[in-house]
Symmetry: C2
Subunit: 355 residues, 2 copies
């Protein structure tokens, strides 16, 4: 007899993208930044390595919160640092959703939201996007009305597309919270500093951000939420007391202080992204204009899973994705992270061979 909760027994568990330990793979599957972190981050970690690690870190993570607050023109009590953005998503579910309440999320998007609902033991609704990744507000309104927590990644994954503030505001559940998962926010063509939080319904919006992508720091697990202090204060009760560690706090704070480094890498990724998009289109793929560090490519005639396998046989990993039950039925495609120019050249070369 299992002693686990029935919902835990039943669930499969979220499967993250493959993470081979060998270094000779071209990894275009988990949207990591191909460029290294700022040397100032390395220095901050080295200094922390010789500091008082025998003492607990600051439970309020004030040093980081002050820097992040500056980025969003808010006070530090609008910021909740976390052990990766994933932890903030978990905290949000545990803060707002009882087992008889409903989580909704844009579909197709980040399927982790579904795993979080399964763990919490609550219902999860997929709000179906149109095939061009736009919203049909009239169609989803009844579902939004019964939603307690709505997850909207913006820009979205796997599409790489963006929704404007007016659309997003119209999605806020009348009796719930909307989470804007801005993991890829720094890759937008037009930067955004959370202006939507200052609007009429801003106190029912939580923005989540990560340092994994734009700051090249997937390895340190650091994200943060930005929201009205009343929301942050409640979420703080749910988090573990010391959820961020001395080393990652030092690294994350130094990373935010070196905007130049991050912006330079983002600029390069944007350039490579445009080149990749064009090249894929010339090879016969349909590719969304991307506002992120990856592109979503579908081919009208080829089997996406086979393409993924053929690439993998050549030690190139992309993400083969499969979304059953979209507005047009089963949707498959390849999500390809924007690597370095050299990696993308190799990828395109091998892809041509395969095609």
């Amino acid at each position: 007899m299992s002693l686990f909760r029935p919902n835990i027994d039943k669930m499969q568990g979220y499967v993250p993208g493959e993470q081979p330990r060998e270094k000779d793979w071209i990894k275009l599957n988990t949207n990591e930044n191909p460029y290294s972190h700022s040397p100032r981050v390395a220095e901050a970690i080295e200094k922390a390595a010789r500091s008082r690690l025998n003492i607990y870190p600051d439970p309020l993570v004030r040093a980081f919160s002050e820097e992040a607050a500056k980025q969003f023109n808010v006070d530090p009590d609008w910021i909740l640092p976390a052990n990766g953005s994933d932890e903030n998503l978990t905290i949000l579910v545990r803060s707002f959703v009882d087992t008889n309440e409903v989580i909704s999320y844009a579909y197709p998007s980040y399927v982790l939201y579904e795993s979080l609902a399964e763990i919490q033991g609550c219902e999860c609704q997929r709000l179906l996007l149109n095939s061009d990744w736009s919203w049909d507000l009239d169609r989803v309104r009844p579902e939004i009305e019964r939603t307690k927590l709505l997850f909207v990644p913006n820009p979205n994954s796997p599409s790489g597309t963006l929704w404007d503030d007016a659309t997003l505001t119209s999605l806020i559940p009348p009796n719930g919270i909307m989470v804007l998962d801005e993991a890829y926010g720094d890759f937008r063509s037009m930067r955004d500093k959370g202006g939507i939080l200052k609007g009429e319904h801003g106190s029912r919006i939580v923005i989540t951000r990560t340092l994994s992508k734009s700051y090249s720091l997937a390895g340190i697990r650091f994200g943060f939420a930005v929201a009205h202090p009343d929301l942050i204060a409640g979420m703080r009760k749910v988090k573990d007391s010391y959820n961020c560690n001395t080393l990652s706090i030092a690294a994350a704070t130094a990373a935010l202080m070196d905007q130049e480094w991050m912006l330079k890498n983002v600029k390069q990724i944007q350039l490579t992204r445009e080149r990749l998009t064009l090249a894929l289109r010339l090879l016969g793929f349909e590719v969304q204009d991307s506002e992120t560090n990856f592109v979503w490519a579908t081919h009208p005639d080829r089997n996406h899973e086979e393409l993924y396998q053929e690439l993998k046989a050549r030690r190139i990993l992309v993400r083969y994705m499969k979304f059953p039950g979209t507005i047009t039925g089963l949707l498959t495609g390849l999500r390809i992270t924007v690597g370095t120019d050299a990696e993308i050249d190799t990828f395109l070369e091998k892809l041509k061979e395969i095609l």
Copy 2:
């Protein structure tokens, strides 16, 4: 109108021990190790600082799990690394306890368990210990019979006392899991390697360990659970995919590989502990024989809160603790971390002044 779950609105949130940022306090309040971490840990972090932090860490944390497995003479699939032992306690609650089920814990002990039950939204029972910190098994048996998850810190806090394996085995809930929270396990006079897990009911026991105390690494947030692989596999579904980071994994793995450093500090703390215990007794305190890195001291005539305040005014922090509703009613006392010999000398000197 609040949108938080009612249990979150209602709860106060766990309040960790005070963490002043200034370095001129004598901190004897949060059971931190007064000695620094191993130089090999610092080297491992420095190396990691220059490694590929742009890549996600190993979600299975295999490097660390292999080292931890050796310590307990088990296979690596018996190990679940976590972002501090606190995270494993949270994972345990989310894995095993539905909102209509019951958490129980030894009382007085670590009141965080109560906060975890509040967050989950389930009932929490205090299993009252005898005034000498022993168990009255006949008295608590009906409560244990309805328990899904039982938390027993061993050695216990604030008492510093230990229960033997026979007593612990008799506490296992017939329809639930027992968690042995061994945060202070390395400070025991007789080392223990989880032999209880190999016993008849071992597959219903989870041991949790931390590197915060004995390894002087409260700052890196690293703990791990040891349990039958079936339990670990289910708990893994509940954790965030990448719950440990590249820096802390490097630090924690290096720490386990330098047993000599840890054991040397533990030995010193044990010696200072005996001296502190004796000195407090000579000052009129009742002090439990401790198997941890702190002592529990009560004074028959003095007000404990006033003693705490008087010490704080002299920039010495100890933990004033207050447990309502114990077997003898309200219990108060001082939990004093074993610091360096110099810190303990100053503490004793100031305490004499106050008395």
